[in-house]
Symmetry: C2
Subunit: 315 residues, 2 copies
């Protein structure tokens, strides 16, 4: 399998310019040594606008005219709808019917066509649309253009914080971690890239330990509140992660929630549970990390208002 | 009176590099035409780190060694403590005893000496410290180095969003609005700079309408929830604002609160009430603003947790 290269990431950086926000790295006075990369400030509230914009930008005009389709638990769907809208092409999103309401509403508002199905039927429903309408499939992570787009975060982090010693990145399907690891290891092989997963959806940790993909069931993975990382890694992301990732940390549900709270009250950032994973690794698992300055990606902010209220009320 | 120039602002930009965060401008998909400048992401949770860092950086080594002192409702005090700490010099902060607890705790954590007094005694208590200890007074806004430091926001905004038509900036003592107006008008005279005040502390609006400073009492100004802008403008800021500001908008307390809520849930940014003023002008007073893209400064994020909880629970 051909892996993504730093040249792919550099090409992606040009395609996303002016569409994705060039987020800063933000020092945390309340957690010495931690810096945040606030990707929750992206137009759709998550980093996924980077990969989607790169993938849509890479389509030929002929392909683009037929539109794009994807299956997504939410943020990638929003990102693809946004990227398609920016280029002026149609987008259809196949969404698991358990996805948070806030994400479903957001995709409709971006003009995408939505098709709700039970989680297990996502892939077949998507394949049907590709066959019937000739739409281009842009999956959430199993695609080199997506991985290269997410990797632009890595380029920015090492440019903005030359003293960085480790980079903390959440792992769901593994597209973000793959892209960031490719970029960081190419530019700064001395910097450690650490994946972060919920303990309740630790398929990547198990897979890397076993040396082959360990499949967790939907039922197992859907236990975590971190709905953005309920997906299993796949061969493509496993190939990148086993080559480039230096380690992986497992986060409890309590650690996720307390980190969402601290990010709101101390960093002034609203994170969704998946978005709190990487900072949680620094706050709760420091002994498992390399010494020195760490940058943690706050991957998204699309949290249900009721959940945010509950977390803030939990004194 | 000598006004701040664009050269002063450019010099400030060099002094604050690496201390203040280079914040992006963030487009709001949920409010077409609005962009946010999230200064709540600064190290101390507010833009004031820019002015304080510039003022501390401009001190001679001899002056710096004696330390700095200020009176502040909170964010400027934190900023000065931070800037002094960064340069390794002592800081003493005179704080009104009604200041939010979260801000008092934050200044203590930065190693500053704190002196709590009733609001009306702030200035005299500060003067005593200058006389007794030879400390350098760094006031929150009545100082050209402070104004020049805050002005760096204006330079960044017009660089990052060339299509901008108006800039929305909260007005308390007027230092931020003065600096931003100087910078924007020097670089882009065609862009409108609009001040934003709480209707309950609209001394700048009254003063600009009257052509001279109209003094509101402490009692009047302390009615607003926006504790960061409870100060009256002074001759120095009045001189800048009457020359450079294009207009001013008054915001109700309800508008402030609903904007804090929308910023949290839609922009994923936690703003304090003062920090919500400028976006509130776009969301609630659009007809009073020029057409075209607007950038609103989210000036700070240091809100009391109980207030944030209450606002988010207000369905």
């Amino acid at each position: 399998m051909e892996l993504v290269t730093i040249d792919d990431v550099r090409a992606a950086a040009k395609r996303i310019e002016g569409v994705a926000v060039r987020t800063p790295v933000v020092p945390c006075r309340w957690a010495e040594g931690l810096w945040l990369k606030p990707e929750n400030l992206q137009p759709i509230g998550a980093f996924k606008v980077r990969g989607a914009t790169n993938a849509v930008g890479a389509l030929s005009d002929e392909q683009a005219a037929k539109g794009v389709v994807t299956h997504s638990s939410g943020n990638h769907g929003q990102a693809l709808a946004y990227a398609a809208n920016t280029r002026g092409i149609p987008a259809t999103i196949v969404v698991p019917d358990v996805a948070p309401r806030v994400k479903i509403d957001a995709m409709r508002a971006l003009g995408a066509e939505l098709i709700l199905v039970p989680p297990a039927q996502r892939l077949t429903a998507t394949d049907e649309l590709v066959a019937e309408r000739g739409m281009a499939l842009v999956p959430p992570y199993d695609h080199n253009d997506i991985i290269a787009g997410q990797g632009t975060i890595g380029v920015e982090m090492v440019a903005d914080l030359p003293s960085v010693r480790s980079v903390l990145v959440p792992v769901g399907g593994g597209g973000l971690a793959s892209g960031v690891a490719v970029a960081v290891k190419a530019l700064r092989p001395d910097v450690r890239v650490i994946g972060v997963e919920p303990a309740l959806a630790a398929d990547a940790a198990d897979s890397l330990a076993a040396g082959h993909i360990v499949q967790w069931t939907d039922e197992q993975r859907y236990r975590t509140s971190a709905d953005g990382v309920r997906t299993n890694i796949v061969e493509r992301t496993f190939a990148h992660l086993s080559r480039y990732l230096d380690g992986i940390v497992r986060i409890s549900e309590d650690e996720i929630m307390s980190t969402v709270r601290r990010l709101a009250l101390e960093a002034h950032l609203v994170a969704e549970p998946s978005g709190a994973l990487a900072p949680a690794a620094f706050l709760h698992h420091r002994s498992e990390l390399p010494d020195g300055p760490a940058v943690a990606i706050v991957s998204g902010g699309n949290i249900e208002p009721a959940m945010l209220r509950a977390i803030l009320s939990d004194d």
